[in-house]
Symmetry: C4
Subunit: 212 residues, 4 copies
Amino acid sequence: MYEELKKELYKAHMNLEKYRLVAYTSGNVSVKVNNHVIIKPSGIPYDELKAEDMVVLDMEGNTVEGKLKPSVDSATHLYLYKNLPDVGSIIHTHSPYASAFALLSQPIPVYSTAHADVFGVQVPVSNYAPVGSEAIGKAVIEVVNQAKAVLLSKHGVIVMGKDIKEAIRKAIFLEEVAQTAYLARTIGNPEPLDEQEAKRLYEFHHSNYGQK
Amino acid sequence: MYEELKKELYKAHMNLEKYRLVAYTSGNVSVKVNNHVIIKPSGIPYDELKAEDMVVLDMEGNTVEGKLKPSVDSATHLYLYKNLPDVGSIIHTHSPYASAFALLSQPIPVYSTAHADVFGVQVPVSNYAPVGSEAIGKAVIEVVNQAKAVLLSKHGVIVMGKDIKEAIRKAIFLEEVAQTAYLARTIGNPEPLDEQEAKRLYEFHHSNYGQK
Amino acid sequence: MYEELKKELYKAHMNLEKYRLVAYTSGNVSVKVNNHVIIKPSGIPYDELKAEDMVVLDMEGNTVEGKLKPSVDSATHLYLYKNLPDVGSIIHTHSPYASAFALLSQPIPVYSTAHADVFGVQVPVSNYAPVGSEAIGKAVIEVVNQAKAVLLSKHGVIVMGKDIKEAIRKAIFLEEVAQTAYLARTIGNPEPLDEQEAKRLYEFHHSNYGQK
Amino acid sequence: MYEELKKELYKAHMNLEKYRLVAYTSGNVSVKVNNHVIIKPSGIPYDELKAEDMVVLDMEGNTVEGKLKPSVDSATHLYLYKNLPDVGSIIHTHSPYASAFALLSQPIPVYSTAHADVFGVQVPVSNYAPVGSEAIGKAVIEVVNQAKAVLLSKHGVIVMGKDIKEAIRKAIFLEEVAQTAYLARTIGNPEPLDEQEAKRLYEFHHSNYGQK
């Protein structure tokens, strides 16, 4: 099932590694297709991962195809897909700069045009919630905004996109935005962009950037 | 058209990735040749980019060759070429350390001989200007100095060279210079080089460094 | 002897390099098998290292097989294997973020769920002990806790696992955890997780994460 | 002439790039053999450099073999070889963490056993001296100590070894030592090792580490 999509999902995981957003076994990407969600198997190191290892789940989390156990974060992904119908792909990482803000339970303000372009508004922080049940999903839904990217208190990040391509781009940019925010804050006091200007940049970017 | 130059432009984009000055789709390099400007297409990830994707524009921004939409920063590049006749190649990135200074709207003083060698004077910051029109180009022209490198307030950086080779070298060195400045400032108070000495180093470097 | 295990040990060393936990010649991995310990030879650069270079020692440190001199840290590894019977693999690195805490003789508190998942409790610091005898091993045993990872005062880190796979994962995660802790502390005051919650996460992770 | 040595010198330059001690064209390695010094040509990017490009100089700086202009730092290398007869290879970089200390004209104290092992004593800072003449060489000689590694005020670093292998190892470790010192200082007040202990570690390391 879904051979091409599994390959694209595999490539997305490789991009997480390439951009150093994950380490060894951490992090995962999923994609929704029909009434199924395809996700990384649990605890497989990136250098051993294969496209055919990806696990196909139904919306209740039962394995429809795949020999391996799915990610322990599967319940989080499923809860988010059920509650956000326009989301088609979800990424979870502990990317270090974004996670530093998560450890402090601090949102990332819109300090840069890159932040405004991709996210439009500040990246919020959810309340603390433990892994393995729907608790993280619920905590994300409480705070999710237009950015469709949420810092998980004392944990890491969740980013969501309409497809794998958008989700991976947002995961990479969230870390870039977090790093630049971190660097600026350690040598000065950056001021957030005006809210209206951030909104305008977001709309310009989403109307004009990219092909078609 | 310009097959060799497109290959060189492609290689320059790969160097931006290699030196981690750009992430996934951000950043772009252009080159001027005759009355044309060749530039990266908009929003193509670096690992999908090909030399033949590069877009050839005339000086008014009309596409002369290429199937893809050019970078949303094309208006900025064109404005700068028109106003700075000795510039033959322009690079825009959000390289993290230099962008940290941009987020603070702080110039980078000449703390090091490497800075003096390559740029001669401090790297200035332009006023804030939004993407997509000539506004960024105008803001750059207001502050541009001998360094031919400008921090874009709350945004990123623009570097300019007589050709691709010089521009790419300046983009890489600007980030190195910004990183070293950042590191020094977080553990102490670095003092800028004397202005005359910086000028002397710049002249020595530009007369003696490299081949021929 | 132990051809397959030597290959796995070699691959573990390559992972230390890939994740930038070691530099050029520093760091080493060992594995216990029967009454033997296999370990990296002393001072061989990672890009010259070969699987067949690995040295097989008996529990008194005599070379059983191998033409090269074993790591100067061999006495430390042997002492730990003798005193911690459930340890099957040991890694020593100077990974930079974790070593920064070691230079300050400060433990790493459980700031994140990733820390709790993998280590359960804070990573302690041993007293200062010089290399080359059993002194480091003894200093580690004095403070070792459930984390089976110890910062060596003014030196680096030791992590221990039941096998190579677990040890390498812990070495990579210790540096990730240390980096995130470092970043959070330089822009704020992260609060450690509740002790009971950290324990619960550790137990959940060790019952549910990974395959089988 | 010296074909094998040129290959080893080439490989050393590639290691500088791999460990991110240099950027694009910066930095250089030289080696002394008989009454000749072999050194990198000026301004050649690392991805275009070839072993056969290396320039052979006599001790007065005249080109004995090679079509390219030698490094602008050649006068520095030659001065040091003439004044330090046991030095067989010299490396100059702007590696970022060590250069941060150089920008502040601060020495790097012996905070770690890795520093003691490889350098024995603090890494000193020379007075400011401009490139291109013997001035840098003289400034280095004024402060050089057992570490045979010197921070160049507002510039970068020089490390020296008996051969290429030792020099490259010292260049890599100097940056590791500087990074760890930097990280420790930004979250605390690391205390230097006792001077006698540092000396003891240096002697132990130089008697026991590595093969033969």
